[in-house]
Amino acid sequence: MSVEPTGFLYPFIDADERDASGLLADLAASARAKIADSASVRADALEQCRPVLDAAGAAMAQRFRRGGRVFAFGNGGSATDADGAVDLFRAPRRGRPLGAVSLVDDRAVLTALANDVGFDLVFSRQLIAHARAVDIAIGFSTSGNSVNVLVALDEAHRRALLTIGLCGYDGGAMATTDTVDHCLVVRSDSVHRVQEAQAALVLALWSAVQRNLDEEIGDD
């Protein structure tokens, strides 16, 4: 577990404290430091992941041209990141809409699978039902070690889907498994900074796909 550098904000525990001005100044200073840190983590992630983004964007565009769709999945905050990615691909405010499905969207399917076969299989079982070889699997796990995400990426790879993983810390198992074709690692040990950078990476990935599709049409 990471230790957040907020210890300096707890100089005392004082039930008689009445003046909030000192606390408010500390809070604002902490926020400023985190904002700067977030900007730096995001810029580093975009820079370090540039080759992966280019390659993954081109590979995804190829599959979209052949009728492929995205299946995205993750747990907790990463589930909402999967939802957000699906929303971006499917209904962008600018650019062409592309097929994408969130595997955390259907509570009937999720709870049925979790109840009957276990939570480790909630995403892989859905891929078995839906996915075709031309499709794309995108798994989100800040630790890189979420079992159900890794199992689903393995299953997707076995079915010849393009597999993309987004993770943090040192990448965890996701960064070393050979079943992930393109791994986007945010080198930070804060879940929050990882998720903020992943949002930027997804936007960059989407943008690369759109650019590739534009260029392919331009070449025709």
Partner: protein, 257 residues
């Protein structure tokens, strides 16, 4: 052909320095409300992923040992649902751009319902008074503040996620200062000055005989005279002064400029 897409480069954070101070103030307000047993109702009509992320952040903290706080994401008819579920003193946290009509509507009803409204978003800012508290990502350099697609990009760049991550973290820091949790300011900073000069905002809940109506004002039920503005229907927002409704609000903006 005309390029359809934005360049691959993703805007770097453009959070203004004062957003840090805004975050500090709102964290103090939230911690005090939570300490008084408030629930935070999270609504994000056009960005459901953000609303869910905000709620799970508070309910299931990423840092072991931090207390779970009651936050619930709602979708569908959010005005009807928040009206039904929220209790005076609760919090409404809306996420979205300033042109989000559903967010505008639920936030302007926070005052009659006795709730604290917080609006988190990006792009062009909402008008003054649209919410008790606004935490905002201004348009990036080179982006068009009035362009909906640029605002959407700002909603997705990670900055809005950063806003609620910090809001969560700072709220928990305030909990380490128990002496400050129960000190409400003598004069609430969540009262719209313009409105208080004009009268109180109330929501009609039922029409009764003789030019009178039952309304919610600041979370309290009362009966007022609506003979000057009849007909009214439940859901109407009216300005009330000394027990008399003076006008019906039709504009989506809660306060006159």
């Amino acid at each position: 052909m005309q390029p359809l897409t934005a360049p691959v480069s993703v805007p770097v954070p453009t959070l203004a320095d004062d957003v840090a101070s805004d975050l500090a103030s709102v964290a103090l307000v939230l911690a005090r409300r939570f300490a008084a047993r408030a629930t935070m109702w999270c609504v994000s009509p056009s960005w459901p992923a953000h609303g869910r992320h905000l709620a799970v952040e508070f309910v299931h903290p990423v840092i072991v040992g931090k207390r779970a706080l009651p936050a619930v994401h709602l979708d569908g008819d959010i005005v009807t649902t928040v009206r039904l579920l929220a209790r005076p003193g609760d919090i409404v946290a809306a996420l979205g751009t300033a042109d989000d009509a559903a967010a505008v509507d639920v936030l302007r009803r926070c005052e009659p319902w006795g709730l604290t409204g917080v609006w988190l978003g990006a792009g062009a800012r909402p008008p003054a008074g649209a919410a008790d508290h606004v935490l905002w990502i201004d348009a990036a350099d080179g982006a068009d503040a009035t362009d909906a697609a640029d605002a959407a990009t700002a909603m997705r760049s990670g900055d809005v996620v950063l806003l609620y991550h910090l809001l969560w973290e700072l709220t928990h820091v305030v909990f380490e200062h128990p002496g400050l949790l129960h000190t409400e300011p003598a004069c609430g900073d969540d009262v719209c000055i313009t409105c208080s000069d004009e009268g109180r905002l109330a929501e009609v809940t039922a029409v009764v005989h003789g030019g009178r109506a039952e309304v919610l004002a600041n979370g309290n039920r009362e009966t007022i005279d609506v003979s000057l503005i009849e007909p009214v229907v439940p859901g109407d927002l009216v300005l009330v002064h000394a027990g008399v409704a003076l006008t019906t609000l039709t504009s989506p903006s809660r306060c006159s400029p």
